[in-house]
C-alpha cells in the first residue's frame, strides 16, 4: 500500500474517525478553478482526494460527472494536464493522498508503463479504473503495483460470496463499495442495505471499506460513516462546480459533508 494512503487510514483509525473522500474532475470547470478547489479540499476536511481523469465516454457515470468530463475536455484537459495538476498540488501538500479515478482508454493511449511512472512521480497514490475488473487486472495491475500505486477495487451489490474473493485478490489501498446498482449520483444509498454488505466485506478483508456512488448530503454522509471506514461524495460536489458556484461556496459544502462523515456536524 502506498505510504500516504496507509498513513491516512492508520491515523484515522487511531483517532477513531472515518475517512471523508471527495471527488472532483480535473480541469472542471476550468484548470484554474479546478486547482483552487483541489488545493482547498484538505483544509475543508477531506482525508483522501479522488481526482477524475476526463474521458469522453464515462459509461458508469451519471449526468453530473458526464457533464464535468465534457466541461474539462472543452477546457483543454489532457491526461498530461491532469498529472500536472496533481504534481502542483503535491508541491504544497505532501500528506493528503490522491487517487486518480477514470477509464482505461486514456491510460492505454498514454502508454501504461509511462503512465504509472509519471503518475507515481506526480505524487498520485492510487488508481480506480472503472473498466478494469479483476479479469482485466493484467492490463494495469502489475505495472501499477510495480510503480507503487494502489489499485483500488470496486465491490458492488452484485458481488456475491463467490465473486468477492476474486475482487479482493490483488486489491490494495482501500476497497470501494458501490452502494447502489446504478451510475454515480443516481439513487440514494440505503444504510439499511449498505450496512450488512459492508459487514460482509469487512469479514473478508483487512482493507478499509469506503462507500460511494449514492451519497449526496451531510446527513447521508453521517449515516454511512457509522457503518463504513469512509464515505465518498462526488456528483453533489461536481454539480455545484458545474453550476458555476464560487470555489469557496463549494468548499463550504465540502466542509459540511466532511463534518457529517467525521461525526462533528454542529447539532
Amino acid at each position: 500500500m502506498s505510504s500516504r494512503l496507509s498513513a491516512t487510514f492508520d491515523r484515522l483509525k487511531s483517532e477513531g474517525r472515518k475517512a471523508f473522500i471527495a471527488y472532483i474532475m480535473a480541469s472542471d470547470p476550468s484548470p484554474e478553478a479546478s486547482f483552487e478547489a483541489l488545493r482547498g479540499l484538505p483544509q475543508a476536511g477531506v482525508d483522501v482526494i479522488e481526482l477524475g481523469l476526463p474521458f469522453t465516454d464515462p459509461m458508469a457515470d451519471g449526468p453530473a460527472i458526464q457533464a464535468a468530463g465534457q466541461r474539462a475536455l472543452a477546457a483543454g484537459a489532457t491526461t498530461a494536464s491532469t498529472l500536472e495538476m496533481a504534481r502542483r498540488f503535491r508541491a504544497e501538500n505532501d500528506a493528503t493522498p490522491i487517487v486518480l479515478m477514470g477509464y482505461f482508454n486514456p491510460i492505454y493511449s498514454y502508454g501504461v508503463d509511462k503512465f504509472v511512472a509519471d503518475a507515481a512521480e506526480a505524487g498520485i497514490d492510487g488508481l480506480i479504473i472503472v473498466d478494469i475488473p479483476p479479469e482485466e487486472d493484467p492490463e494495469l495491475g502489475p505495472a501499477a503495483r510495480a510503480a507503487g500505486l494502489d489499485l483500488i477495487r470496486l465491490a458492488t451489490p452484485t458481488s456475491d460470496a463467490k465473486r468477492l474473493p476474486k475482487i479482493l485478490e490483488g486489491a490494495s489501498g482501500f476497497l470501494y463499495y458501490v452502494s447502489i446498482t446504478g451510475i454515480t449520483g443516481s439513487a440514494e444509498a440505503d444504510a439499511a442495505q449498505v450496512g450488512p454488505a459492508v459487514a460482509r466485506i469487512k469479514a473478508a478483508t483487512d482493507l478499509p471499506v469506503c462507500v460511494g456512488f449514492g451519497v449526496k448530503t451531510p446527513e447521508s454522509a453521517a449515516e454511512i460513516s457509522k457503518i463504513a471506514d469512509g464515505v465518498v461524495v462526488g456528483s453533489a460536489i461536481v454539480a455545484m462546480l458545474g453550476e458555476g458556484r464560487p470555489v469557496d461556496d463549494v468548499l463550504d459544502f465540502v466542509k459540511r459533508l466532511a463534518d457529517g462523515a467525521h461525526g462533528t456536524s454542529p447539532a
Binding site: 469522453t56 458508469a60 492505454y108 465491490a155 458492488t156 452484485t158 451510475i183
Partner: protein, 412 residues
C-alpha cells in the same frame, strides 16, 4: 488461442475467442464490476444453450417461419454484365422480416433472455434497424422493450422511431455526449448497471464485452453457412471472394466466419470512408483510420484523438457511423486474413443508384458501401470469378437521406 505475432498464422481462424474473450490481443471484458457477474452468467448460459438441440431447433423454426430464411443467393446478371468481370451474387439478407440481417442475432439473444428469466430487454440503435428488430422480437414474445437512440438519430430516422413505437417499444432519446450511436450504447450500459436483476442487454453488433462478439457472430453465421451451401448448389464450388460492409461488423462477420479456414476465398470488408479517410477524421473507418483502444467493454481499433478521447466519425449511413469495430475484425485485420478497404459517401450513393436501376433492388446505404467496392473490384477479375456480396439491408429507410444528398425534395 495465443497471441499471434504479425505474419505468423494460426492453425484455424475459427478457434477464437480464448478463455479471456480475446481474439489475439483484441476483445476482453472491460466493464464495470457491477456488470461482471452478469456477463459471466450470460457466457455460461450461452455455452449451455449452444450445445442443446432444443435451442437450435427453436431458432431454426423461427428463422424459417418468422424471418423467412434461408435468404436467397441471387445471381445479379445486369450488375455482372455492367461491371464486366466477376460473376456477382448477392446474398439477399435484406429480404428478412424487418428488412435487414439484424433479426438473425436478435432472435438468438431473446431466446437466451427467456431462458435466463429476464423480462425487460434493452438495446441501443443507430439508424434504428437493430432497434426495430429488437422491438419486433420483443412484441413476438411479449417482453418489455426499451431502445436507446441518440437524440440526433431520433431526429434523422423518424420512420424507424415510429415503427418501434408501433411495435410497443419505448424509444429513449439520448442527449448525453454527442447524442449518437456510441452515446446510446453508453446509456444502455448505464441502464443495465441500474437494472441488473430483470434486464437483458441485446447488443446489435459483434462488439461489447465477451461473450457478445462471439455470440453475435455465431447467430449471424447463418448467413455464411447458407451462402456456402447455396453456392455449392449453384456452381458446385466455393466462391472466390466475399465482400461485406462494416460498421460494428456483424453482417460481415456472419458472412465471413464460415469461410475463414477456406484459404482460397479472398475476404474483403468495406468500411465507411465518409468524406475520405484522412486527418480530418470525417469518416467511420476504424481499421483504416484509427488505432487500438478500449471502449464499450472491448479492445479494438477506435477513432480517437492523440489523448485517447473517442471521436465521433462520420458516414452518410447512420448504421456504419460508429467509432469502433468488432474485436474479431481487428484481429483478422492485424493477421491479414481479411482485407479491409473503404468506400466514401459519394461512392456509396452512386452504387445505391446503380443497384436500384440495374437490379430492381434498392439497397440500404450500408451495403451500398460494399457494392461501391464491388464496382471497383469486379471489372479487374475474370468472368469465372465467383463474387458474393452481402446485401444486408434494404434501402426503404434511406430514401430521405438519399433524396437530400441528391438535391431532391420528397415529403414523408
Amino acid at each position: 488461442m495465443v497471441e499471434t505475432p504479425q505474419g505468423a498464422q494460426p492453425n484455424s481462424y475459427c478457434s477464437g475467442p480464448d478463455e479471456q474473450g480475446r481474439f489475439g490481443k483484441f476483445g476482453g471484458r472491460f466493464v464495470a464490476e457491477t456488470l461482471m457477474p452478469l456477463i459471466l452468467d450470460l457466457e455460461r448460459e450461452y455455452e449451455r444453450a449452444k450445445h442443446e438441440p432444443e435451442f437450435a431447433a427453436e431458432m431454426q423454426d423461427l428463422w424459417t417461419h418468422y424471418v423467412g430464411r434461408p435468404s436467397p443467393l441471387y445471381f445479379a446478371p445486369r450488375l455482372t454484365e455492367h461491371l464486366g468481370g466477376a460473376k456477382i451474387y448477392l446474398k439477399r439478407d435484406e429480404l428478412n422480416h424487418t428488412g435487414a440481417h439484424k433479426i438473425n442475432n436478435v432472435l438468438g439473444q431473446i431466446l437466451l433472455a427467456r431462458r435466463m428469466g429476464k423480462t425487460r430487454i434493452i438495446a441501443e440503435t443507430g439508424a434504428g434497424q437493430h432497434g426495430v428488430a429488437t422491438a419486433t422480437v420483443c412484441a413476438r414474445f411479449g417482453l418489455k422493450c426499451i431502445v436507446y437512440m441518440g437524440a440526433t438519430d431520433v431526429e434523422r430516422q423518424k420512420p424507424n422511431v415510429f415503427r418501434m413505437q408501433l411495435l410497443g417499444a419505448e424509444v429513449v432519446p439520448v442527449r448525453a455526449g454527442r447524442a449518437t450511436l456510441k452515446d446510446a450504447m453508453n446509456e444502455a450500459l448505464r441502464d443495465w448497471v441500474a437494472n441488473v436483476r430483470d434486464t437483458f442487454y441485446c447488443i446489435g453488433t459483434v462488439a461489447g464485452p465477451h461473450p457478445y462478439p462471439a455470440m453475435v457472430r455465431d447467430f449471424q453465421s447463418i448467413i455464411g453457412r447458407e451462402t456456402k451451401e447455396q453456392m455449392q448448389a449453384a456452381e458446385g464450388r466455393l466462391p472466390d471472394s466475399l465482400v461485406a460492409c462494416i460498421g460494428g461488423g456483424s453482417n460481415a462477420m456472419g458472412l465471413f466466419y464460415p469461410f475463414l479456414d477456406d484459404r482460397t476465398v479472398r475476404i474483403i470488408g468495406v468500411e465507411a470512408g465518409g468524406h475520405g479517410v484522412d486527418d480530418r477524421m470525417e469518416h467511420a473507418a476504424s481499421l483504416n483510420g484509427g488505432r487500438p483502444g478500449v471502449l464499450h467493454g472491448n479492445r479494438t481499433y477506435l477513432l480517437q484523438d492523440a489523448d485517447g478521447q473517442i471521436l465521433e466519425g462520420h458516414s452518410i449511413s447512420a448504421g456504419l457511423d460508429y467509432p469502433g469495430i468488432g474485436p474479431e475484425h481487428s484481429w483478422l485485420h492485424d493477421i491479414g486474413r481479411v482485407e479491409y478497404v473503404s468506400a466514401t459517401d459519394k461512392e456509396a450513393l452512386d452504387a445505391f443508384q446503380m443497384c436500384s436501376r440495374l437490379e430492381g433492388i434498392i439497397p440500404a446505404l450500408e451495403p451500398s458501401h460494399a457494392l461501391a467496392y464491388v464496382a471497383k473490384l469486379a471489372p479487374t477479375l475474370p468472368n469465372d470469378h465467383l463474387l458474393v456480396m452481402n446485401m444486408c439491408g434494404r434501402g426503404d429507410k434511406d430514401i430521405f437521406t438519399v433524396a437530400e444528398a441528391l438535391g431532391e425534395e420528397i415529403v414523408a
